[in-house]
């Protein structure tokens, strides 16, 4: 089983991204998935977590995610002391940043990947909504779901107009990681 | 039937004789209320002008309109005396029940 942890702020769409991944893996990828937010009331702006679990067989384990295989950080200000707790050593940490190098020292032992999702989102959406960019980047970095499945999940979940923009951003982010 | 009548009731002897849950026929009356009376209303039909004030105000609905005359269902009259007290013609008198 692969466990993915999403870091965002309330209202940034981290939970949506965790669900998109679940949809891509299960509905379009033939695997099994669970997606859930950090339980409790979501307050706009507050740091929040979301999770996706993906496996080839039915997922029975309902306990909390304690050893994440992938971590997605939608807003780099969320990397605060203690951040690395609950992340498997060697796990991939994907950060929305212009400069991933500055984390090499503090996050030693992890597979760090960076993408400037904010600029990408501004360019495509005209707004700094980074969840789908990070989702596309994760698909590329992890191989958990194919690009086709990722795009299909966007079309499953979003209305056509919104889906059009977001498939574009997923593709762009995917390419950025693959070609990096 | 304008008003329910006293009906004999067969007490359940088997659990299946009970209704499923608390539900039963509307207007089913195994008991009368006649035993509640100390006084009974007696109507003076000559004085009665059939204004129906008693009919309107009887708390138990026991006064019956019967082609120009009132009648009283003595199975359910409790003898409260409202009819006599409210009668504008004093046509109803409350008299002591005799055994």
């Amino acid at each position: 089983m692969k466990e993915i942890r999403w870091h965002g702020r309330g209202g940034q769409g981290g939970f949506t991204a965790s669900r998109l991944l679940g949809i891509a893996a299960s509905v379009h990828g033939g695997k099994h998935a669970l997606a859930f937010p950090s339980f409790g009331p979501e307050r706009r702006g507050a740091p929040v977590l979301a999770f996706t679990k993906i496996d080839d067989s039915k997922i029975h384990d309902r306990s909390e995610v304690q050893e994440s295989d992938y971590v997605v950080v939608m807003d780099e200000t969320l990397i605060t002391p203690g951040f690395e707790k609950g992340i498997r050593l060697g796990a991939c940490i994907l950060v929305n940043t212009e400069n991933i190098e500055k984390y090499r020292e503090t996050l030693k032992g992890f597979d760090l990947r960076g993408i400037d999702a904010t600029s990408l989102a501004m360019e495509v959406l005209g707004r700094p909504i980074t969840n789908t960019a990070m989702y596309g980047a994760l698909a590329a970095a992890s191989g958990l779901v194919s690009l086709d499945a990722a795009l299909a999940s966007i079309r499953t979940e979003m209305k056509p107009k919104l889906a059009e923009l977001n498939t574009k951003i997923v593709e762009r982010a995917f390419d950025l990681i693959i070609n990096n | 039937m304008n008003r329910p009548k006293h009906t004999e009731f067969t007490f359940p002897t088997h659990i299946d004789d009970y209704p499923t849950g608390p539900q039963y026929k509307a207007g089913y009356l195994p008991e009368t209320n006649a035993g509640w009376r100390t006084f009974r209303p007696v109507v003076d039909h000559d004085a009665c002008v059939y204004c129906l004030r008693c009919y309107l105000l009887c708390p138990d609905g026991t006064i019956i309109k019967d082609s120009g005359q009132i009648k009283i269902d003595m199975d359910y009259c409790k003898g409260c005396g409202v009819c006599a007290h409210e009668c504008p013609k004093d046509a109803i008198e409350m008299v002591k029940e005799q055994l």
Partner: protein, 396 residues
Amino acid sequence: MKTNKIFISGDEAVAQGVRLSRPHVIAAYPITPQTITVERLSEMVEAGEMDGEYMHVESEHSAISATMGASAVGARTFTASSSQGLLYMAEGLHYCSGGRWPVVMMNANRSVALPWSIYGDQRDSLSLLDCGWIQVYVEDAQEALDMIIQAYKIAEHKDVLTPMMVNLDGFILTHTYELVEIPEQKMVDEFLPPFQTPNKMSFEEPKNLGFSSKPDDNTEFKYQQNEAMFKAVDVIREVDQEFAEKFGRKYHDMVEEYRCEDADVVLVALGSVCGTVRVVVDKMRAAGKKVGLLKIRYMRPFPEAEVKDLAQRVQAIGVIDKDISFGYEGTVYTNVNSAISKIDKYVFKSNFVGGLGGRDITKAEIEDMFNHLLDGIEKKSEEKVEFFSLNVETND
């Protein structure tokens, strides 16, 4: 068979199950973590996907009152609640079962104040075990959807006519998204006939409902109600079988045994934690430990026969309770223990109380429980009732 699988939460799965069951009246009051269910139902009514009346009641007490009223004219009804809301309904819960109105309710299992907590445990519904409702606990979103449909068929059965509560763990199930197969409306219609009941007011046959009974009759009405609950056991089996034939998913009636066939020790649990226990069972089995899981699905009627049967076959039974009856032990444990006491054999027993107020139950903790039971049969540990996963030292 044509299938339609979508990625939805437990709350949304319940809403889908309700939609497919075509209730005439839905009355509910929002409460976390149930709210999404009633939001989805409102959307379905708005979108014309459902014909029912959606009532915006001003409290849970009114939610249960309104569903009883609607049921009392022969309407199929649904309500949903959780925690404080369920407790606020308590009067109505007894009233509803006594009135023999087969209302179906979803309860999102949530802790009960004080201290306030919106997170999951099962103290809400387990503390209301005696209110005369059939109580089922589900393990995932698919089971939640399927059990709503089954619930109508069980509750409305002429021999049962008893309300039914479908319990799903707050957040762990209500807010977790997973792949759920949505049955076809046509098939649900074939499975679930229109609601018929003798227990209603009608203009063809006017009735007085909800009457008083004197001491001469009251016991008989309560006896009848108890009988109906026992008869529900057979109906639950029939309905589950018929459901399996129609939809291809079987839920093993009253309980589900997982790898119990040759087990020495078994953990008993309700709801979503069963999934985690399965994972631990698999792991320990791989290491040669003869462990198993008994998933209790129905707490009322209680699966006494199934528990006794299992107790005859194993040496130790542990019960995980996401609840506590203060001053004694977990409620599930009390019930399981009562069944075990009726067999002529010693079984090592222990009660593990935890998961309160949303605390996670980890695989390591479950493994510890199994090890305690395995030690017990070798007389290396003692029977106990304990709060597990306390974060601090205690005076014991």
